[in-house]
Structure formats: structure tokens, C-alpha cells
Symmetry: C2
Amino acid sequence: VTDRESLKREAALRAVALVESGMVVGLGTGSTAWYAVEALGARLRAGDLTNVVGVATSRATEVQAEALGIPLGPLEPHGVDLAIDGMDELDSQLDAIKGLGGALTREKLVALQAKTFVLIGDASKRVSYLGEKAPVPVEAIPFAQRVVAAELAALGCTPMLRRDEHGEPLVTDNGNVIFDCHFDAPFEAGEVARACKAMSGVVEHGLFLGMADVAFVASDAGVLELTR
Amino acid sequence: VTDRESLKREAALRAVALVESGMVVGLGTGSTAWYAVEALGARLRAGDLTNVVGVATSRATEVQAEALGIPLGPLEPHGVDLAIDGMDELDSQLDAIKGLGGALTREKLVALQAKTFVLIGDASKRVSYLGEKAPVPVEAIPFAQRVVAAELAALGCTPMLRRDEHGEPLVTDNGNVIFDCHFDAPFEAGEVARACKAMSGVVEHGLFLGMADVAFVASDAGVLELTR
């Protein structure tokens, strides 16, 4: 049995194999995306790729990419050729929940500007419906947090303010807070997505619907390539 | 001819006259709202009002209110009895453009939780249609700014990144940037509002549609009370 970290790395390698010289590449955030950034750095160092620019979805990824010598640029409209990122949950339509790493807003912005958006992960992330295992993260401005919590609860979930290792409310790279919204039963993802985005004080939510073009899902049996 | 500042103050006094003891009062931001906060502090000091709690829409207003001894509290769901704020433009339906003071996101959050939302200003703010004189401010997260600028331009306006007195991009209390969107021709405000709110990377916009219950508009002829 292959361990979880090896599986993450295998999925990441498959995605990074799609990168070509001259591309602008969206660099995801989180433990699986970390392997992709590492592999991209290795291909650049090996001279296998040239003239690649990364767009980092978080401060953490920026730090990692800089250490690996990957040149970084700002997010431009329609300016990303290929975005690679991990997922917390993936259904059969390639709809996903993201945001466990706290970078959902920048991740979604980069994915939306990408010609091709690739999700990577191990098979434990596959679900029969979104919300089966993971909560839906929602980023909100701190001033609005009591109002947003009440409005999220009205959608039928239990919103939990995410905390850091010190028990303090986690602050995102954008200076905001995150509610992890736990649903007891399956929900209509499109409706929840629209309702969340319409709330004043909500910056973004972690439902990535109709966005991914490809997903690489690694299990002991190998890496499965899923397309929409 | 009464000067502009006196008119602002007269409108503010009319709004503050609506405050009753025990109320939670939304405290707006900007030069006209400043007079309202000042007048509220005076009524509290005079003992004319007791047990009033303010909810400040900006750090600047927080500082002013604290200096005046107005107790402040957080924004709670449906937790504001009366919100008082200035406007940049007001049409005959009491639809408004706000955000010249840079506090539009918190202002809208407070107004949305208010049982009664009162706008105040001098008569120069009245327009026959929104956008006649003022741009529509849109608050966006800095990482998204190039994308949001392109998407705003696609709505038919010219988005100008607001700058501070040093020429640097202005940073809001929420750590974001503001685009002042100049429209050359009248636009359908409801459509622009929906389109702005739907954009990833946009936190809030300055179109306050169907929100104000009352407006006090001061001119040389006196203070006009407008209701919807």
C-alpha cells in the first residue's frame, strides 16, 4: 500500500507534466499543491522547461516558489495557461470543495482566469456528493462575521469559525475570517454557492462548480485522469 | 446663502433627532455623517439620551465616537435600530451611491441590519439618475485588481483605482482597494449592482438600492424629508 503522501505526489507529477515552456502557471496552495510546485521547480532547474511564470495563490506558495527560483507574476485577466491545485472533495462532475488551506479566494480567482484548470489529489477526496465529508469554507470580512454566521446558518448548515493553532480566529492572506459550513444532509451546491456569493460581507466560498477541466486522482491502483 | 457645511449639519441634526434612548445606532462615515456622530455625542452628554450603543462603519468613525464617549458595539444580525449615513448621490427613489469615504462595505453591512436606514446630505447630492455626477465605487481584493478592472470595464464604465494623498492605491479598513467606476451614460443600476456583486474578487459596491427608508436633504429653503 502506497502511503498518502506518495499518492499526492504522483497526482501532482501528472499535472506538472502538462506544463510547457512559456506558460503562465497557477500555483495552488496546500499539501498536494506543494508537490506540484516542487515538481515544477525541478523541471525548471533541470532545464526541461524555460520561460515559465507562476501565479501564486497564497503567501505560503509564494514563499515556496521563490525558494525554488520559480519566477512569479501578478494575476492578469485570462492570463493563466494552466492552473494546478489540490481539492478537499471531488464529485463525479469534477465539482469540488476547496479551502482547507485557507486560500480559497485567490485559488478561485486564479482558476477562473485559467485556460485549463487541473485538480490533483488522492482518492480519499472523491465523494458521491459535495459535503459528504468536508465542510464548505466561506471567507468573510471580520466586521461582518456575526451577520454572515447567521445567514449561513439560515442555509441549513452549522458554520464554525476556523481557528489557528493558538485558538484565535484564523486570518486569511486577505485579512478575512473563514467559516467552515457543516451540512448534515446533501444540499444543492449551485444554490448554496449563489446564496453565499450574494451575502454582503462574504468574499468567496469554497464551492468550485463547473470549473475543473481535468482531475488527477491517485490511488494504489495508479493515477486516474478524470475529465468533464 | 447658507454654506455647505451648515446644510450638512442641519440634515444630520434631523436624523439624530430620531434616535431614542436604548437604541443601537449605526454611525456612518464621511463629512456629513461626522456631524451626526457629533450631534449624537452631544445628546448623550446632555443626558437627553441614555443607553445608546453605536456601531461604527469605519475606523475613523470609531475614533470619533470613542472621543465623544459614545459606547460602541459589534454588528449583530438585525441588531441596528437606526443607521444614519451620508450619501454621494440620491435619486427620487431614495436609491443612492455611497463610498466616497471609502467605507462602503461596512456602511452597507450596517444599513442592511438596520430597522431604519436614514440618509443625510445637502441638496447637491440629489440627481435625476444614479451616476449623473458620481462614479460607482467598487471594493476589491488587491490580488484580484487587474481581473476586476477588466470585468468592470466590460460593464461599460471606466474603472479608476482610487489613490491616497501620496498617489498610492488607497487601502480600505478591510485591506482592499477601491475602483471608482465612471459611466458616460445612464445605466441600469440593478443590473450593474448584480454584476458587480457576482464578480469574484469584488467585496462590495457602492450602489445602495431599495435600502434607505428616509432621507433628509438640506438646502437654503430648509431640510426636506423624503420617504420611499
